[in-house]
Amino acid sequence: MMRIIDEKEPALLKRAVRGDEQAFLVLYQKHQAPLYRYALRMTGSPWAAEEVVQEVFLLLIREPEKFQPDRGELGAFLFGVTRNRVMKHLERSPREDSLDEINANGTAWREPEDPLTPMMIAEKSERIEQVREAVLDLPTEFREAVVLCELEEMSYEEAARACGCPVGTIRSRLHRGRALLLAKLELLRDAPRRASAGAR
């Protein structure tokens, strides 16, 4: 197994296409999680993300010649394919599911462990849910910039490469995305304050 992991990706892909399951699994395990997370954060649907990841790897199995090692790394190729599939999905069915559904593994979205009171946990959970909703409500290109630069913590250069656009475009999209997020969340957080002030 160690020997397989050490092999270069194009060699592993060749073996995988010839039917070497181990070689394929090495590639799959290495790339599937970031692709899944990206698809999940962009679509908000675990089902859609699962479908996208499956399609991406099926394409790799069925049409491996589409990946050309001289044009870039396998990770970049897979991300490009994932991105295309996600965009197609968003065109077909914009925002159909909420991220707080039970995910495909049967587990709910995990909250980080925190020694807070139940009240504080509930508040925090609500806030995270608001952020999640706000991110999903962003227009696609701004959402993508926020997902890549803020959630995936990519640098501007990496995000620009992934999206196939100049760094300036990413900066500008991120700027707009942040502004929209802030405005939306300010509005959401001020609403209860205004309501309680009005009640008094």
Partner: protein
Amino acid sequence: MMKCEEFGLLGLDMDRADALPEDAAAAAQHAAGCPRCSALLESWRELKQDLRILHESTRLESAPARVEMRLKQELRTRREARLSRRTARVAAWVLAAAAALAAVVGWAHWQKATPTGTGTSEISAIPQASPDRTEPVLLAADYDTGDFTQLPASMPTASSDQAILQARVQRGALMQFGLPVAPEQVADWVDVDFLVGEDGQPLAVRVHQDSQSEAVTQ
């Protein structure tokens, strides 16, 4: 000195790892003196904290195991299909080779069995049917083809390398040389002389009169 507009573009990046140090310093200096930008930075830091929590909460998310199973199944299906395709290809080649071999063997047998190689063998086969003579007798040619009847498929030649082959055959056997035979005489035995060319092919045939009359008397 950074202005509010510039802060809106660059200021929120000041906490990023890839922010330029001089931009970060200028943004911090501006925020310290501008309550509006300071409030914006504060709001952003709160949001950034929430985004970090969101990131943490989904950091370990990965595709469910069933995706891996489906992909493995696809790999296996493709491998089996490729294997059966290869088997079919090998079988096709084996069949083709067997057919070619059978054709070659058949041709070789046919070559051996068909009397086209030499006239001698063709004609020698005819007398074997005779109950009286088993071996044809090859006589020296006297260059006289007087009573011989030219066979339809042969060409008249003036070669000196001709021979006369005597045989006793059933009259029906003469049909294969293109000679007309009455149906009621097919089974009659007759003595014939074949004039054989240098290539072994029969050129002409002569039926002995005595055997003809013998057949008639019988």
